[in-house]
């Protein structure tokens, strides 16, 4: 981020290069599975990056972030079910509805702090979960199949594995670039200042909550985009994507990779989802191993994997 050559920046650059070359590897080896897996990883990395914006930089521990995955997904799914297949309509709607939902949740929950904030964001996400379960017209508990992926008037074909992967990757890189700009902007400094010392920021003339709310909305909107991608990826959307354990997964990815580091959530998503995939081949109880790994990271590497890499430079 600072343009300096150090271990964490080098790892981030390598990671980006590897992600860009992955379809090539998949084509050469004929390994389609890895491309499917990484499409999913890239989408979750985007969702985790959006959570990192409020959690890492803004100090807002949202425990309901998966709600936006569902909202973005349902916006695509419902519109498709109603015969509106154009991505030019579906995606803006997905973003707008996510933003509105974030505005509503944020306006109410940002009055609280700490544990109460965690609980209230969780409660709102669970509410979204139950509302989706009650949508019998759109599959209710069983979820909704998206029979046709978003149509972008021939510009890009989402049913093509490679094209879809690169679309997801472009969204991830675009999202990261946006977050990077925001974090270093006037707005971003205020949000980080409020995380560091809210009373001080008020005393020098900032209306702290207004900035936090806008940050919360931006984060929710980016996650809504991840939701739209996810629905297209799985051709399916169900209340399960909004369940609180999903929100927990996103938090774990952010903490694992490194809160408040731009590429932390990406590396977190990669490590978490790869571990989950690997372990599921050996055991049904992947949590038995993932849990202790997370515990070790939290106890011994406060800055997550990115923090560990950053420390290597200093020896």
């Amino acid at each position: 981020m600072t343009g300096k050559l150090n271990v964490s920046n080098a790892v981030a650059a390598l990671m980006c290069a590897a992600l860009m070359l992955l379809p090539l590897y998949s084509a050469v080896t004929g390994n389609i599975f890895i491309l499917t897996l990484f499409t999913r990883i890239v989408i979750f990395a985007l969702a985790a990056a959006s959570l990192n914006l409020i959690m890492g930089y803004g100090g807002m521990m949202s425990f309901g972030h998966a709600a936006y995955l569902g909202i973005g997904g349902y916006a695509v799914g419902i519109l498709a079910a109603e015969g509106i297949g154009s991505g030019f309509i579906q995606w803006p709607v997905a973003l707008a509805v996510s933003a509105l939902f974030a505005l509503l949740i944020g306006a109410l929950s940002l009055r609280t702090r700490g544990v109460y904030f965690i609980m209230i964001t969780l409660a709102f996400a669970q509410m979204a979960y139950y509302i989706a379960s009650a949508l019998s017209r759109y599959g209710g508990d069983d979820g909704l199949t998206v029979y046709k992926r978003s149509d972008f008037a021939g510009l890009i074909n989402l049913s093509d594995r490679n094209q879809f992967y690169y679309l997801c990757l472009a969204c991830l890189f675009g999202g990261l670039y946006l977050i990077w700009r925001i974090v270093n902007s006037r707005f971003g400094l205020v949000v980080q200042g409020v995380r560091s010392n809210e009373q001080r920021m008020q005393a020098i003339g900032f209306h702290a909550n207004r900035y936090r709310l806008v940050c919360f909305v931006i984060s929710g909107t980016i996650c809504g985009l991840a939701g739209a991608l996810l629905a297209n990826n799985t051709d399916f959307v169900s209340p399960a994507v909004m369940y609180w354990t999903r929100s927990g997964d996103l938090m774990v990815m952010v903490i694992l990779g490194g809160m408040g580091s731009l590429f932390g959530p990406v590396i977190g998503a990669i490590v978490y989802l790869l571990l989950e995939e690997l372990l599921s081949q050996f055991t049904e109880y992947s949590g038995l191993i993932l849990g202790p790994v997370l515990l070790l990271i939290v106890l011994f590497a406060r800055g997550g994997i990115m923090g560990l890499l950053g420390r290597m430079r200093r020896g």
Binding site: I182, S185, F187, G193, Q199, A203, I204, G205
Partner: protein, 259 residues
């Protein structure tokens, strides 16, 4: 500057603040006139910090009014008072610990330079913010420590930074809550010299335990005991004030130095 001017910069009337059964501010009235350095002294628990916090809006009074520059600010939140030109430093250092010194000051300058809903440009590259921040740091003698993270600064440097942050908001009235707290002898002397310079430019309300500093600096002194004003006068008169001697300093002590 003994007689209150008709247009005080700050005017407090019948302020009351209770915490449970304790009345921390008890029907308190006072005035600060433009250009003066007004010290507030009183034994521990006299309600000095509570008073400052009410003036800047961190604590809301139960009753009474606070007028600043002719405006009733009693119900304004702290960020709005800061925009009107009321700045404070905190008794217990309150800075953005994981930010560099210059970031702390530049943010204060930014707060008074339009809104901050700017999402794209790099704020650390905005020259006028950086330059006014650097100027404020030079002012307090921290020019060479600009890029150090606050948590790496010494306690004395952090106290100076508190002052630079307050200055960067270009205040009309500076409320300093024990700027000398925890400072060594040399650091205290530097702070006194600094305040002597600052008082030429800005009206100051100073809460301080260091009596030597207070008597060297103040135009007027208000003495607080149990949330009440028991005296308000020029330093020489306060020195001789019988009730002040009894209530605050203990009869055996001369009013010279008291920790």
């Amino acid at each position: 500057m003994v007689e209150p001017l008709p247009n005080p910069l700050l005017r407090v009337d019948n302020l009351v603040r209770r915490f449970g059964g304790i009345t921390a501010t008890d029907n308190l009235s006072m005035e600060v006139v433009p250009g003066e350095l007004h010290a507030i002294i009183g034994p521990n628990g006299a309600g000095k910090t509570t008073l400052i916090s009410q003036l800047t809006g961190q604590v809301m009074p139960n009753s009474g009014t606070i007028r600043f520059a002719g405006r009733d600010v009693t119900n304004l939140p702290s960020y709005k008072r800061s925009r009107l030109g009321l700045a404070r430093s905190f008794q217990i250092t309150s800075l953005l610990k994981d930010f560099s010194a210059i970031d702390n000051v530049a943010l204060a300058a930014q707060a008074h330079d339009g809104h901050s809903f700017r999402f794209w440009g790099n704020a650390r590259k905005e020259r006028h913010l950086r330059e006014s921040a650097r100027a404020a740091l030079e002012r307090v003698g921290l020019g060479r420590r600009a890029d150090i993270v606050v948590s790496q600064l010494s306690h004395g440097e952090q106290r100076e930074l508190e002052l630079a942050v307050a200055l960067a908001t270009r205040p009309q009235l500076l409320l300093l809550d024990e700027p000398m707290a925890g400072l060594g002898v040399t650091e205290s002397a530097r702070m006194v010299a600094l305040l002597k310079e600052l008082r030429k430019e800005v009206t100051i309300v100073l809460v301080e335990h260091d009596m030597e500093a207070v008597f060297a600096l103040a135009d007027r002194i208000t003495v607080l005991v149990y949330g009440r004003v028991i005296a308000c006068d020029v330093p020489d008169a306060i020195r001789k004030h019988e009730e002040v001697k009894r209530a605050y300093l203990g009869e055996q002590h001369a009013v010279t130095r008291h920790g």
